[in-house]
Subunit: 199 residues, 2 copies
C-alpha cells in the first residue's frame, strides 16, 4: 500500500539521510506531519539555504557560507603559524572542543583513494602547497585518521612539506586516556611503544 | 566551537527529527553538504510541499493532499460497509500490508487522553458519529492499541456505535503467530484465554 504521493515522496527523501531506513523515515514523516509542521518548514528552509549557500573556505576548505571561515579570519589563529591537516570538518570540531590547538586548519574532505578517483587534486593539495610556499608556516601537523588511507595521505603530504622545507609532524597514536592496556588492540599498543617519549 | 551560522542552523533543525541527537544531526548535515547536495535540495522541497499541502482526508482523517484519500475514493472499499478505527496513519499501513481487510478506515490521530487535553473533538469522533448516522455502516472494527488509553478510547467509541445501533467489534488480542507461550506476558495470555474461540 502506498500513502498519498506527497507523503511517499517525503518518506523517500528522508531515507537519503545517513542511518535512516524505511521505518525511521516513515516515523519521521508522520511525526512531522502530526506534530511538527512548523519545525518541518524550518528544516526545509535550513536545508534549502545550506545546500545552496554553504561552500568551502578559500583558505582551509572547511564548510562556510563566507569566503573565509571564522577561524581563518581570526588574526589570533594565524600567529602560531601552525596548520593542522584533518580529513573532515567534523575533525575540526573535535579538535576545537579540546581548545588546546591555537593554529589554523586545512580540511582535505577525504583521504587519498586512487580506486575511488580521489587524488591530490580532489583533496586540494595544490592549495595547501601554495600556502606552504607563500605563507609563513612554522609547522604542519598531520591529523589524518590512523587508517591505511589516512597514513598514506599523511606520508604524501609530508613529502610536499619537506619539499618546501616546512617542519612536519604527525599526531601521536597510542593508548587513549582512560583506556586499559588489557583491552587495547595490538596495533595501537605497537604504535604507543614506537611513539614513546623520554621522561 | 560553532560552525558557520547556516551549518549550525541546519544541524539544529535536523535535531528536531525523532531519534536524531546532536551527533547524528552533525553527521547528517556533513554528509548532505559533502556528498548529497542534490538530495538535500530534494528533501527540502519534499518537506516544504508535504508540510504545506498534506492535510486530512475528509472521510477517514488519514494524511492526504487530496480532499479524500485513495482508499475512501475507491468504490470497492466502501462495499463491505466495514470501518476500521485506528490510532495513526501508520496503523493503516500495517493493516493494508496484510491485504486482508477490504473496508474503509477511520484514523483518530491519537487516543483519549484528558490530561493532555485530547478529548472526543480532537479525535474527530463527531465526524465518525455523523458517518455512523448517515452512511450504511455494517460493522465498526476497533483496532486501537491494547493500552489503557487505547482500551478506554475503544470503549468510548463502542458506546457511540451502540447508540446508532451499529455492530461493533474489537480486534483480538492474544499470543502472536510465531510467539512462544513461555515468553508471552501474563496479560496477553489472560486476554488470549478470554478471547478463546470454539473449535
Amino acid at each position: 500500500m502506498k500513502f498519498s504521493p506527497l507523503v511517499d515522496e517525503l518518506i523517500h527523501a528522508l531515507k537519503m539521510l545517513p542511518g535512516v531506513g524505511p521505518k525511521s523515515a516513515q516515523r519521521m514523516a508522520f511525526q512531522l506531519l502530526e506534530r511538527e509542521r512548523k519545525g518541518g518548514l524550518q528544516l526545509a528552509e535550513a536545508l534549502q539555504r545550506a545546500m545552496s549557500d554553504v561552500g568551502h573556505c578559500s583558505s582551509c576548505r572547511t564548510f562556510t557560507e563566507e569566503d573565509q571561515c571564522s577561524i581563518c579570519t581570526s588574526a589570533k589563529r594565524g600567529m602560531s603559524g601552525q596548520i593542522c591537516v584533518v580529513e573532515t570538518p567534523a575533525d575540526v570540531l573535535a579538535i576545537e572542543t579540546g581548545g588546546h590547538f591555537t593554529g589554523r586548519y586545512f580540511v582535505l574532505h577525504g583521504h587519498l583513494s586512487p580506486l575511488d578517483g580521489i587524488g591530490p587534486d580532489e583533496l586540494g593539495l595544490s592549495l595547501l602547497e601554495q600556502q606552504l610556499a607563500s605563507e609563513d608556516v612554522s609547522e604542519l601537523i598531520l591529523a589524518t585518521n590512523p587508517t591505511v588511507e589516512g597514513d598514506a595521505t599523511a606520508n604524501f603530504i609530508a613529502d610536499i612539506a619537506r619539499k618546501h622545507e616546512v617542519k612536519v609532524s604527525r599526531i601521536a597514536h597510542g593508548v587513549p586516556v582512560g583506556g586499559e592496556l588489557e583491552y587495547v588492540d595490538s596495533t595501537t599498543l605497537a604504535l604507543s611503544f614506537n611513539g614513546r617519549l623520554p621522561l
